[in-house]
Amino acid sequence: MNSPSYTLTHERLLEFLRTSISAGKRVHAPHRVGAKTFFRPTEDVGAIVFDYIQTAESPKSLLFPKAELLISYKQTANDVTMTDHLQKEIPEMILFGSRPCDAAALSRFVEFFADGHTDAMILKRRKALTIISMSCAKSDADCFCTSCGSSPGDTTGSDLLLTPIKDGRYLVEVVTEKGESLVSDNKALFEKAPSAVKDSYLARVEAVFTPEDITKKLTTAFNDPIWNDASLRCIGCGACAYVCPTCSCFTIEDEGTAHAGDRLRCWDSCAFALFTVHTSGHNPRPTQTERWRQRVMHKFAYLPETNHFLGCVGCGRCSRACPADMNLKEQMISIVERVPVIA
């Protein structure tokens, strides 16, 4: 990709962020909270951390909040009036410090919601968002981006991608027009650079499978006994789905009285026991075996079939969050190795 590139010193990066905050843009950046790192709205750039591998929670909540108002209603004996929350203004936001895997995930996330019955609110939020990602100089054992179509220096989905190079500087790759206008609005801070070789500054993440391999194996693995043992220690919480940057399942709930209230969209997870239960009590996925299988098949087999992308970017958050050490990467490897392809 022939994106124009610049360099930026660390001080000027902070200056850029400071200016954006003063200009009224909401800057979401990584902050330390206890032992973990989270994206937080930032007032003081001094609170931003740079020495993390990955945040605990993904930045998808900027497009897809954990609880979101859809409509509000007021009801009298003769009349119902509704407030349409889609029509409200979305303030300009900057996401700073997302990893390349996150940006790639957000672009797949938006594609999923744009397809078919377009979700206008998610698109509206993406339009108001500028994504400035930071390449990975380090990775840990839970990262597997290169097995899922992304990489430590992937530009997909970012508006600007920063790579820490030498002398306290960053290489800045402009990926989109939005990124380009951000640079031209702050011309003084950026120095033009010949297209730099960033590979030597990036973490090395060995691929352990390919998306094609895993999809192929899974399409014939539905009845394989591998799911029974694989799911035994899963406790059926929603931690993996909620920290995941591509998971998008939700529920719609009404809150309020007959007179006034709201209809909300809230996160949900296929791992919960009652996710698919019918009012009759019949549950198409009655045990954790079916639910774990569904999670894996949906991300690695069904989505590739219908939407042509893998529902995983290998960010590793699920493995870091899982109380039972399910370790998705390890399970994918054992599927690729164990399940024979039935011709």
Binding site: K36, C237, S319, N327
Partner: protein
């Protein structure tokens, strides 16, 4: 000096791990247990729950300071119960959990075979009496930072405490990892899953999060074993165990009732005793 002592300790640890593996294998071979639940090496230096159903699989068991997650959570799962008689490698917290579950009629046929490691010896606790005796004499120990957190919270004013929890719970997104990791949260239809009526809001907004966690703390008061698995499980780093630990501490102070030490104890908050204190209605 130091290396020798730790070498000795490491050797004994190795021995007790081997004894555990052997004991588990014996239980499986003799068919006294259909499954032995313990820990095995996990990914990236972690340990993970391990379910051995053959003697060979028992060789994977490990036992060290990483083994903190409360395994008793698996004892009430349908998939595990279907396997047959279960055995579990238990820390003091797990033993107290089993005693508490027993007092709540969760073991219809018989107690799980409970293997404890003490002074590098493996002992089998076979019945109510031995389980109760072990539970009473082995307190659940908090890591030092938790003790400090409890002290800090107790020293706060009610307003300061409320602000603390507002802050912490703002990160909650209702993944229910706390509930799923807790062995005392075994209800097949949790109160949050009732929608006729909707007792607890589904949404993870500020009110919804408070509703959930206050409800949970009330449901665990006098039952929580204070193992801290909920805090360990929380992906948002919320020290949620502090709530239920304190709820149980209050029950202990006010009602002189300790959870998890007597397998036939009546439930603290839902049993009527003629000599119950009634000071609150005077």
């Amino acid at each position: 000096m130091m290396p020798q002592a730790s070498f000795g300790r490491a050797q004994r640890k190795e021995q007790s791990m081997q004894s555990l593996q052997q004991k588990a294998a014996e239980l499986l071979e003799s068919k006294r247990a259909a499954v032995v639940i313990g820990y095995a090496e996990g990914s990236d230096g972690r340990v993970r729950p391990h379910f051995a159903r053959t003697a060979d699989a028992a060789a994977a068991f490990v036992w060290d300071q990483r083994c903190k997650q409360n395994l008793a959570v698996y004892l009430t799962k349908t998939e595990i119960k279907k396997m047959g008689p279960a055995a579990v490698i238990a820390s003091p917290a797990v033993v107290r959990t089993i005693v508490q579950l027993a007092s709540e009629q969760q073991f219809a046929k018989s107690f799980p075979i409970t293997l404890v490691v003490e002074n590098d010896q493996v002992t089998e606790l076979a019945d109510a009496a031995s389980l109760d005796a072990f539970a009473v004499s082995h307190a659940v120990l908090f890591p030092p930072h938790v003790t400090k957190e409890i002290e800090d919270l107790a020293a706060m004013s009610v307003t300061e405490r409320f602000v603390f929890w507002q802050n912490e719970l703002s990160r909650c997104f209702k993944c229910y990892a706390c509930r799923s990791a807790c062995p005392l949260c075994y209800c097949t239809n949790c109160i949050t899953e009732s929608n006729q009526p909707q007792w607890v809001s589904v949404a993870p907004h500020a009110l919804g999060n408070f509703e959930w966690h206050i409800n949970r703390a009330m449901h665990l008061a006098g039952r929580c074993i204070q193992c801290g698995s909920c805090t360990l499980a929380c992906p948002a780093g919320i020290p949620i165990a502090l709530l239920t630990i304190e709820a149980t501490n209050i029950v202990e102070r006010e009602f002189k009732y300790q959870a998890g030490i007597k397998s036939d104890a009546p439930a603290a908050l839902s049993s009527f005793m003629v000599d119950d204190k009634e000071v609150f209605i005077r």
